[in-house]
Each structure stands twice: as structure tokens, then as C-alpha cells.
Symmetry: C2
């Protein structure tokens, strides 16, 4: 009898099946919360090889954990501790298959690193707008499997909206070629939408046709001081009215979050620090010229000052200054880590309810959790906050997390639910939140999800236990 | 024993169950190709009533045909001839439930007429951009069930992209409230996407949360003469580069299609008629000012003349002139009807392949079908052509259709397939194309569609025989 691992070796070549040595890069999740143990890590080099791997695992009744760059934040891409699961790494499938300039599309394999996709688009004279912190190591297949968000969603949508087609290996090991780069196609159920965001539980994405955009003429960045979250929402409406789709970024940051950046990275200059409750970073992208973009941006900020929704503002004079402003925003999670242990929430509520949500949730946490420090920042233009909780200063942070994390999560998610929001805006469910879903998602929706899972993966071999429980 | 019709009367009130008199408005399809016979037409007034109707029909094993404005073009919303199906009309559910300006969303019931949705948005200071010929009678529920397209897809996407949430009655008669107007929500499979475009075969859409946009400052229309389809594609790329998301419309029209408008509506002035193989209608939407829009538009057209992708162009001076240009475009289907019987195709191929597709398909038809007249127009910006075939002039048009329609369809769809396109870009499958799908869609995709249908509607009571065969 041939073992499954031997069969896998014959599917992809012996060099591409790893079952010895240090497999931490595949078994350890990004935030180092969980360390699993794989039966083997298989690295197929083509769609046909992926299909062969899935068929072999299906025949053996062995479950498969698809994996891209392994940068997920919800424990959705690493094996469990059983030593019985196969990790199917897509990293070797990293070709850009084609770029069609007239159709504004690119077809890329799942294992392409996001930054490589961005660079290939740029080299051909186009923009691929998906952009997020892990772009140097995450893969486009992972981005699509988790429907990644990031900083440009306001204008271009989530990964879902940037995808015009998929190639998928089904749970039965068949290949579905749905790569046609059509902007209109109404020939039955939109299966592509099922696979996007399903975190590898319904099929294995092997390639995608992505939307490209003409490269803009200028991108400018500004920073505004705003007196409250209500004012931030008002500034957003004003910016959307005046800049329309030119508004490609709108990030809000609480002053305490910014103070952590200033404390741990003193070389960074944080605008208006200590002078105002919130800072807002705005990005204006223009297809005409830099002069036009600057005039538009300055007129917007003048109107905002006049309105009172901003009390002060600066526009970056050059690309270095713009990068410095974005760098402050992107340093918040790192500064949080320097400050010590913390509890992260990736939540969304309707934008109109953000001010009331923050006021209510701040109050609940301050009342219930002694010494709590709130680190609130995020993509306000998408209603998406990283509403994080820093352990109290000076105390035993590990003990705080041990004792309070579940309680803090429940307090925050209950508020999110009350305000009609989502407990996972852009990170997904994975294993981390799968047991929380039944508390916050309608039973009708959960039962439809279960029915879809059973329909497409009846044997339950694809990433079991993630997104939906058996 | 109570009959089903009596039960339905008790669900929605006797006045709202129609089973006598002239029911043609519900039984006859829009293009008058099919006349069915309903057991009854039920007009529930609330989501709870819809759920009660579905439960009653499910208990009786009676199938349901959901219906909105009954303007569909693929026989997807009328009952079959058996007299055993219940038509579930959503027309009484026509409330705009709420508008949330800060969140840029509107929640509307399925039976709202599209134009009423547009007007409600406008009255609140916003734009709801879905726009299509039937907007005065089609409903938003029907638009979502068929993933309607129209003239603004280039900028705003199909109906799918304009929907942030749904309320759905399942095949089991349960209510799923998925109306949260969130721009980011990754808590499991995106069920909304399954119902959009499923033509009432998976559930009954009862309400939707829709995206709104700030109302633009100016909308301008231009008409360009272009020497070939290749040049039209080049003009499109130039316009996308220079106007970016300001380009909200890009319609191409062959000179023969335009000549039918001139012949049957001599009061209309058709620009450049007889002087050039194709006309292109461009729409530029601007959030700054009319002066800015005009300057941008004129610069684009100058660049196009210099490049040679356009040989002449006019920009409408005022709204009346703009309407007149759009009216020419919208009169093509009516002029076709005046000219006589014709065969319609709603197809898409990647934009880059449109010129080669047209050249190859024109040649095939001219070779195979004596006297054929090609009426080619459509949404080039979406790769979507209404590639229609007019019966030869003078002859017996009915005989031509009888003898040639199937053959013409096969010739055209075979070419579409060869060029990687779709045999239904924006109209859907319904009953009209359901038997064509297996010839042009991958068996893997069809088998997944079947699995999803069986998972969500195991008894097969929702719009049976449409989209997927049993």
C-alpha cells in the first residue's frame, strides 16, 4: 500500500512535499497564537497538480488546509495539532499569466504576492488598487479567499469587487475555469462570489482575473485635526461630496493611538498630537494633474475649516511628506505591540452609527474594565474600526489578557451587534471567531452557510472547522 | 380540507389573491413570447406575508414564480402553462423603508419601481445610479434578482455592486434579515451574492439596502464619429485614462442601427449619419462644476481627434441636446421593431476582443444567412453588445424567424463562446436560454449550480425550470 505522502510526492515531485524539518513557516499562524502540526506541506506548481493533490487527499479522507502567504489574522490557514492535515501551499503558483490592457484585466496565479501583482500592473501602466499592511508577503489567492480590505476600499471596494473571474479546484478535485474577464455575465449563479471570502472551505482558488485601473496622474495626502468622531463623519460626507471617487483614503486615528506612535517612534512627527481628540488622514487621487488635485484638496479643507468639522489641516507638499503621514498611520499596530499586550477587534458598523457606537462602547469598557486604554483607529470611510484595547499601563499585561480578553471581546461584540455591525469587517472568521458567529449571526444565515458547505464539500475535507462548524 | 387558494387568501387577505378575470399582466411575458396560466396571483403586503405564502405553497408542494414589474426579457417571471403555479407578485411591497445619508444607503422593498428608487434618492440629495430602459416599470427586487445592468455599469457596476444587503424569504419560508448596510463584513459566505442574479430560484428577495452616491455637479453628453470598432476601443481607453470614474457612459452604435432610427423617427437628428461606420455616445459626470466637466470633455475629444480614434465629435450644449442624443441611442430597439421582426442577442466578450469578435461574426452571418442585416449597438465600456439580426428587407419576416432564429442564435453563440464571452450579459437565463447553457457553460460550473439549488431549495418549489434544470 502506498501512503498518502508518497502519492503526494508523485503528484508534485518529491522536492515539493515537506514532511520533515522545521515547518514553522507553514504551521505557525502570523500572530503566533497557534502552532499546528501538518502531516505534510505540499507545494504544487500548477492547477493540474493542485487538482491531483485534492483528489489524492479526498480518496484518503484526509483534510486539506489551503495556504497563501500565511499572514491571516484569524487562524484560518494553519493546520490543527493532529498531525493529520495536509497544508496545500499555493506559493509556487506565482505567475502573472497575462495582462489585457484594453480589457483592463490581469490574470494572476493564486500564489502571486500582492506587491508583485501591484508591480506588474504598474509596469504595464496600470493600477491594481488593493493595498494592505501585509502586501509584501500575502498572496492574491489569500486576499481573495479572505476578501481582504485595506486602505482603498472606500474607492475600489474589497478584494471581491476587484475580481472578475476565478479558477478553482473543487473539493472533488475538478478544475473550474471561470477566468473570463467579463464585466457583465448573467449566466446563472455567480459562483465566484461563493469562493471569494470562503477562506478555503469550499474550494481552492488557483488563479484569478483582476480588475486594473488607469494609473492616476497624482496622489496627495492630507491630515486634518477633528474635534470628535461626529465631526470626522461630517468631514467624510463633505469629502465624498467634493472629491467623489477622488477620495481614495479616509483613516481616523484617536489621539491616544497616535501618542503611542510618538512614544515608541520619537523620530516620527505626528501632526496635531495632543491638540485634538482625532486625526484624519485623507488621500485624494486625481486623473488630471497634481495642480488640479492640490486645488481641489485645499478647497475641501478650507470648506471643512469653515464648517468646523476640521480645526486644522496640512497637505503633504511632496511624496516624502505623504509617506511620512501614511507611516504614522501604519505604525499604530506596531506601537501597540511595543506598548505591550493588547486585544484587537476588527469591526464595522454603519458609518452613521460610528459616533454613537464609540461613545457607548468606550463608556461600557471604562465602566467594566479598570484601567482600560482604548486604541481606536481605522478605515472610517468603510465604517471599519480597529477598536483595540491596550492592557492597563504598568500592571501584569499577560494576566490582564488571560483574565479579561474574553470579557472584553464579549462587551465589544455585544455593542457591535447592538449597533447592527459585523464582528469581522476585513479579517474573516477562521478558527478564531468561528464559535462566536452563532451568537451574532442569524440562525437562518448560518443554516444556509452550512447547506452551501455540505453541497460543495460534502466530505468536509476543505479547511474543516473554519468559518462553519461541522 | 382547505384549498391552497383559500389558505393564500387567509395569508394576504382575499383582495390580494387573484384567480379570476384577466391576469395577462402577470401571465404574459414582456416580449409577448409566452403566455402562461397561474393557479393564482398572490400579492403580499409584507415580508411576513411573503413568508406565510411560501410556507403554504411549500406545504402544498406548489411551485412559486416570484415576479416584480414583469419586464424581464428571458421568460423568467411568468408561470408555465400548467395552471398549477402560484405567481408571487412583490408589487405591493413598495415602501422606501429608510435613507441613511451619512452611510450613503437606502433600504427599499422589492416592489419599489426603479424610477421611484431613483427619485427618492434624488429627493434626499443623492444619486442611485442604476438606470435602464424599463426603469419606469421594473422593480428593484427584479433588478437584483436578475443582476440588471444598464447604461452606468462602466462606472457604478451592475445591480450586484449597488447592493449592500438583502432581506430574503427562503424556500422554507424563513426570513433572513441581511439588510445591514455595511461596506465591509467578512463573517462567512456572502449569501447576498447568491440571491442576486439567481432569478428567484433560490429565495424571494423582499427588500434591499442599496448604495447611494453624492449627486454630481454636472453631467455632459458627447457624440463621436469613429472609423471602426478598433477605433472605438481605443477611444474608450483614452476616455478611461483621462476622465477615470468621470466616464459614466460609453455606448457604441453601428451606422445601420442608427439609420433605422433616422428612417422610422425622421424628427430625430442622428449625428454623422452615413458618414462613419460607428457612432459613440460618451457621458462625463463631474463633481466639481459644469465648466470643469466641459473643459475636460473638450480636451478628451481634441486628443481623440488628434489620435485619429475619432474623426468628428459634438458635445451637447445643454440638457435638451443631451437628452436628444440619449434618445437616439434608446430609440434603436424601437426602430428595430418598426423595421420588422428581429433576433436579439445580449452578449459580452472581453473588450479587447470585441473588434475581432464583430469582424468574425459579421462574416459568418453574411456568409451563412442570405440578406442578413446586422444591428449592432451596446455598452462597449462593459464589453456588452446587443448584437441583433434584422430579418432581410422586403421578404417574409415571420418565415425568416421561423426558419433561421435557432440557426442564427447558434452561429452567434458559438462565436461568443469562441471569443471567451457570455451568452447573457445582462438579461439572465430564465427559461429562454436554460437549455442553451449546457452547450456554453462548463459542466463543473453547472454541477455546482445544481448543488447550490438543491441545497437551498431541496423541494424545487422556487421558479422551477429557470436558470438550472431539475
Amino acid at each position: 500500500m502506498t501512503s498518502l505522502v508518497d502519492t503526494l510526492r508523485s503528484c508534485v515531485g518529491p522536492a515539493h512535499v515537506l514532511d520533515a524539518g522545521d515547518l514553522a513557516a507553514y504551521e505557525q499562524d502570523w500572530r503566533r497564537r497557534v502552532r499546528g502540526k501538518a502531516l505534510a506541506v505540499v507545494r504544487p506548481g500548477s492547477t493540474a497538480e493542485v487538482a491531483a493533490v485534492v483528489r489524492a487527499c479526498a480518496a484518503a479522507g484526509t483534510s486539506i488546509v489551503p495556504q497563501g502567504g500565511n499572514t491571516g489574522l484569524v487562524v484560518g490557514g494553519v493546520p490543527d495539532a493532529s498531525g493529520k492535515q495536509v497544508v496545500l501551499s499555493l506559493q509556487r503558483m506565482n505567475a502573472v499569466r497575462s495582462i489585457d490592457g484594453e480589457n483592463l484585466t490581469m490574470t494572476a496565479e493564486a500564489g502571486c504576492v500582492l506587491q508583485a501583482v501591484q508591480e506588474a500592473a504598474d509596469a504595464a501602466g496600470f493600477l491594481f488598487p488593493l493595498s494592505l499592511a501585509a502586501e509584501g508577503s500575502c498572496t492574491i489567492g489569500g486576499n481573495l479567499s479572505t476578501n481582504a480590505g485595506g486602505t482603498q476600499v472606500l474607492r475600489y471596494g474589497n478584494a471581491r469587487e476587484l475580481c472578475l473571474g476565478l479558477e478553482v479546484v473543487t473539493a472533488q478535485g475538478e478544475i473550474w475555469d471561470g477566468l473570463a474577464g467579463l464585466r457583465k455575465d448573467n449566466t446563472g449563479y455567480d459562483l465566484r462570489q461563493l469562493f471569494v471570502g470562503s477562506e478555503g472551505t469550499l474550494g481552492v482558488i488557483t488563479a484569478a482575473t483582476l480588475k486594473l485601473y488607469p494609473r492616476p496622474a497624482a496622489t496627495l495626502t492630507a491630515w486634518a485635526a477633528v474635534p470628535s468622531m461626529e465631526h470626522a463623519v461630517r468631514l467624510l460626507a463633505l469629502a465624498q461630496k467634493r472629491l467623489a471617487s477622488g477620495l481614495t483614503g479616509f483613516e481616523v486615528m484617536g489621539d491616544f493611538a497616535l501618542s503611542l506612535v510618538a512614544r515608541h517612534y520619537p523620530q516620527q512627527r505626528v501632526p496635531f498630537l495632543g491638540q485634538t481628540p482625532y486625526g484624519v488622514l485623507l488621500e485624494n487621487t486625481d486623473h488630471e494633474s497634481e495642480a488640479h488635485a492640490r486645488a481641489q484638496f485645499e478647497a475641501l479643507l478650507e470648506a471643512a475649516l469653515e464648517d468646523g468639522c476640521a480645526t486644522d489641516a496640512v497637505v503633504a507638499e511632496n511624496i516624502a511628506q505623504a509617506h511620512a503621514l501614511w507611516h504614522v498611520r501604519e505604525s499604530i499596530p506596531l506601537a501597540q505591540a511595543e506598548e505591550g499586550l493588547n486585544i484587537k477587534h476588527d469591526i464595522s458598523v454603519p458609518i452613521s452609527r460610528i459616533p454613537a457606537f464609540c461613545a457607548a462602547t468606550d463608556a461600557v469598557l471604562q465602566r467594566e474594565i479598570a484601567g482600560v486604554r482604548l486604541v481606536n483607529f481605522g478605515h472610517l470611510g468603510d465604517g471599519n474600526l480597529h477598536y483595540n484595547v491596550q492592557a492597563p499601563a504598568g500592571g501584569d499585561m499577560a494576566a490582564f489578557l488571560r483574565e479579561q480578553e474574553e470579557r472584553v471581546n464579549t462587551l465589544v461584540y455585544d455593542q457591535v451587534h447592538k449597533f447592527g455591525g459585523s464582528i469581522s469587517a476585513e479579517h474573516g472568521i477562521g478558527e478564531l471567531k468561528v464559535d462566536k458567529l452563532p451568537h451574532y449571526k442569524s440562525p437562518v444565515a448560518l443554516s444556509m452557510m452550512r447547506a452551501v458547505k455540505d453541497a460543495l464539500d460534502p466530505a468536509g475535507i476543505l479547511n474543516p472547522g473554519r468559518v462553519v462548524r461541522g
